[in-house]
């Protein structure tokens, strides 16, 4: 890899931002011959505050919903120019721009079979506009549009199964990663860009402001999400599932690190329901580490 940093300091992310850390890891793994299309969201706002840019690669900001479509156009143009084999195209966005607003363009990109890596930075709400719930907000999260009150304990709906939706399109590579495992992110990105066709990676990125934890705990919180089974690290290669095995910890260990789950710590019923979510993940993906005989 060359020494020129591709994502430099001076961007205006919050202290301890998991997204800026993951974005740098992704672009460093992809290399300098990359064109990035980015939909609206925290990442675009903090990294390209006019008139400066933190990126040392070509960068296009699209609208909130059409990043995948813009990247499709870039890919088609590169194909026409005969430069596709030497250039990677990455489309990226936050969880709202991926799972809610941008899903139709993304689905189109997968279905048309463009050779693009789509990276979703999943911080589990619309953090840029002030912590509104999105389709990828987990169960029982306190956000500004799913507030806690007498009869409500936060977001009533479970997380949208984006990796399964991606896999249902029959694309060659789908993976989830986590900011708590930086080398794992880079390995998955390198693997993804070596494969031809549409790829999807969803990276769990803690947001100290929105999740209300100390900025120094970003990595620890992301690791706990994986270790409790609430955020399984999985890969689908042509539909074949491989998962990172864990020895599951109780979900309280993850919940008590964050202010957004503070209200359910005294509510055993809600904790039980969150534990059920983790147990379902563990069973569905076969996460439990079997003791070797």
């Amino acid at each position: 890899m060359d020494n020129k940093p591709l994502f430099i300091a001076g961007h205006t992310a919050c202290a301890g931002c998991g997204q800026s850390l993951a974005a740098r890891l992704v672009i460093e793994a992809a290399g300098a011959n990359t064109i990035v299309a980015n939909n609206t969201g925290c990442l675009e706002v903090f990294s390209t505050a006019f008139p400066e840019s933190a990126w040392n690669v070509p960068f296009i900001h699209s609208l909130f919903e059409n990043c995948a479509a813009v990247a499709s156009g870039v890919e088609a143009a590169l194909k026409f120019l005969g430069k596709k084999d030497t250039t990677n195209v990455i489309a990226q966005g936050g969880d709202g721009g991926t799972a809610d607003i941008g899903l139709q363009a993304l689905s189109g990109m997968w279905e048309r079979g463009h050779d693009i890596l789509y990276v979703c930075y999943d911080n589990e709400a619309y953090m840029n506009t002030g912590i509104q719930r999105s389709g990828l907000t987990p169960f029982a999260t306190n956000t500004t549009t799913s507030p806690i009150a007498e009869k409500s304990f936060g977001n009533p709906r479970p997380k949208k199964p984006m990796p399964e939706i991606a896999n249902a399109h029959g694309i060659p590579y789908v993976a989830t990663a986590s900011a708590g495992y930086p080398q794992d992110i880079q390995r998955k990105v390198k693997k993804a860009i070596s494969i031809k066709g549409p790829k999807y990676i969803q990276i769990h990125v803690p947001c100290p402001l929105g999740w209300r934890h100390e900025s120094a705990l970003t990595i620890d919180v992301a690791k706990l999400a994986v270790e409790t089974g609430l955020y399984p690290l999985i890969e689908y290669e042509n539909g074949k599932l491989t998962a990172r095995q864990i020895q599951p910890k109780p979900v309280e260990e993850y919940l008590k690190t964050q202010g957004r789950f503070k209200h359910i710590l005294n509510n055993p019923e809600a904790i039980k329901q969150v534990q059920e979510v983790a147990d379902r993940n563990i069973q569905k993906y076969g996460l439990r580490l079997e003791k070797s005989a």
Binding site: A9, H11, A54, S215
Partner: protein, 91 residues
């Protein structure tokens, strides 16, 4: 050209985000460092520089003082110290 267009890449170093630090700043002791590079890997600002062990340092112009590097250092060779503490001691 239409619209606000950033014509030069990699220009964000004009923002000296180090002024955001309020509580603490990392201090690189450079004693027990094993050169594992974990601090440079996890720094969200990409402001930790260094190539060999015991030679890593932080560009305070950009460091926001999040504390991730001190938290991940396996040798506890990075400490979070109170902002301006060293200057006060000198006086």
């Amino acid at each position: 050209m239409f619209g606000p267009l950033t014509t030069k890449p990699g220009t964000s170093k004009a923002n000296k985000t180090g002024s955001w630090r309020v509580k603490s700043r990392p201090k690189f002791l450079q004693k027990n460092c094993i050169g594992c590079k974990m601090c440079t890997v996890v720094c969200p600002e990409n402001c930790i520089v260094g190539k060999e062990k015991n030679a890593y340092y932080c560009e305070y112009f950009f460091c926001k003082g999040c504390g991730l590097c001190a938290n991940i250092c396996p040798k506890k060779d990075i400490l979070m110290i109170e902002e301006d503490k060293e200057e006060k001691e000198k006086k």
